[in-house]
């Protein structure tokens, strides 16, 4: 039986991808960001998931204004990196897991989540940047990846509650898949940022930190945050954080936070990252839980406020 073992959340700032592609990761500005993911890469290399389900959003790459699916599940065998105007990112083609993806589609649709099945799709930085942050820059990605694209471009995106419940339905779907697979779910995007209009550049570290805290200990509280509050407090584009709730919904109620990183800024955005592990059945709190937590705190730049 397949099961979800952990959830990872990470921002997917395009400039992080550009820094990797242009080999700027050692520059002090970027080193501050990348150093926060060193432990995460280690964790991922040790965890070795069989499949990753990656919740992300497309940024006018695969989807224009012609079709705007609220939830689009990638069921193809592969997903090439999109050309976002500077040529496709030099990252491996994403290999999917069509049988698990189709199984999830069938299961969640019968659970009344009417998602869109996508059999041809290119993936942009929204998906590939978190892959780099957690897997590094290998010749090929170490496991099959199932993309789940969420509309957060046109208002309204799905509510946080809806996202959380979709996560639950995905968990149920995974747990009814016969093959013995260990699955990690990614929630990407955020944290606070606004890149449009006269208020562009907005960062709200206080909101972000409370969001990270509650993601671990009280996610149901987060499901009650209305869209207005996300946009007001975390910026018009900060509403992307609803996608993290799909990841959280796919995990058990009780989880262990094993790592967290937060820094401001990367380009126009607050970078947030967290790793949450499900507890094994019959096991108590994981012994090493908390050991990695806040380990990179020293590496982060002073956030002048909040």
């Amino acid at each position: 039986m397949a099961r979800i073992i952990a959830g990872v959340a990470s921002s997917h700032v395009p400039a992080i991808g550009a820094a990797i592609d242009n080999k700027k990761t050692e520059e002090p500005y970027w080193k501050r960001v990348f150093s926060g993911f060193e432990k995460s890469k280690q964790w991922m290399a040790e965890t070795k998931p069989d499949v990753a389900i990656v919740v992300y959003n497309d940024h006018a790459s695969a989807f224009s204004m012609e079709i705007i699916p609220t939830f689009a599940l990638g069921c193809a065998a592969e997903f090439p990196p999109a050309d976002e105007g500077w040529g496709p990112r030099p990252v491996p083609v994403v290999k999917g897991h069509p049988t698990l993806a189709s199984h999830i589609a069938q299961s969640v649709i019968l659970d009344e989540f009417d998602l869109t099945v996508v059999n041809k799709m290119e993936v942009d930085h929204g998906l590939t940047v978190p892959m780099n942050l957690l897997f590094g820059s290998p010749q090929k990605w170490p496991c099959p990846i199932i993309p789940l694209a969420v509309n957060v471009v046109m208002y309204p995106p799905p509510t946080g509650h809806r996202c959380f419940m979709l996560g639950r339905a995905i968990r149920k779907a995974v747990e009814s898949y016969p093959e013995d697979l260990r699955v990690v779910v990614f929630g990407t995007g955020g944290m606070s940022h606004q890149i449009s209009g006269p208020r562009a550049g907005l960062i709200n570290s206080k909101f972000d930190k409370a969001f990270l805290d509650n993601l671990t200990k009280d996610p149901k509280k987060l499901t009650k945050i209305p869209h207005l509050e996300y946009m007001r407090e975390a910026g018009a584009e900060g509403i992307e954080m609803v996608m993290w709730l799909i990841m959280r919904g796919a995990l058990d109620d009780k989880i262990d936070e094993v790592y967290r990183f937060y820094t401001v800024p990367a380009s126009n955005t607050a970078v947030g990252h967290i790793i949450l592990e499900n507890r094994r059945k019959g096991e108590g709190k994981r012994k090493h839980a908390g050991k990695l937590k806040h380990a990179a705190a020293r590496a982060k730049l002073d956030v002048r406020r909040g």
């Binding site: 012609e66 606004q194 449009s196 006269p198 208020r199 550049g201 584009e237 800024p265 126009n268």
Partner: protein
């Protein structure tokens, strides 16, 4: 038709890309999307006005595009992920567009981000209402934003828009 007033219109310096703006800005955004192809970028750069004839844009949208008024484009239904493609076609970094939208120089904008970004304090609400916690009514009323190009004028008329002033004639 005047834009339907929404609760989120109270957020200062923000044009929420909702279904109504998406409808109004469909062709503007699809024009931007067309710039993903190199041959289209070349055709646009060769004769911008002529290239825009391919899209049924309003005069206001055409003017905003030709004058690179990025806030105005958002107001007329543009979405930032699409309009950013116009900036990229001009060879500009995203922070260049951000600086235009925020009425600052690129250097000032970059410094603001390095210093932790724009503070939420004073930037929550135009009306000062509906704020969390202890913040009193009017206490967090938004600071003024520097305007890009013609926006100063249109800011004044924004408060009038509740009375049903036609959006497309503004600015």
């Amino acid at each position: 038709m005047a834009r339907t007033q929404q609760v989120y219109d109270d957020i200062p310096g923000t044009f929420v890309f909702d279904a109504e703006r998406a409808k109004e800005g469909y062709h503007l955004n699809m024009f931007c999307m067309s710039l993903m192809k190199d041959e289209n970028r070349k055709a646009f750069k060769a004769d911008e006005a002529k290239y825009l004839d391919r899209f049924p844009l309003t005069q206001a949208q055409r003017d905003a595009i030709l004058n690179r008024q990025y806030n105005r484009m958002l107001e007329l239904g543009g979405n930032i992920y699409f309009t950013a493609k116009l900036g990229a076609t001009d060879g500009h970094s995203f922070q260049h567009i951000a600086a235009i939208m925020t009425g600052s120089t690129q250097d000032e904008y970059a410094k603001m981000m390095l210093a932790g970004g724009r503070s939420i304090e004073g930037n929550r609400s135009k009306s000062g209402l509906d704020l969390p916690g202890k913040s009193g009514k009017g206490k967090h009323k938004a600071k003024g934003f520097k305007a890009e190009g013609k926006r100063k004028k249109s800011k004044k008329s924004k408060s009038k828009s509740k009375s049903g002033k036609k959006r497309s004639k503004r600015g």
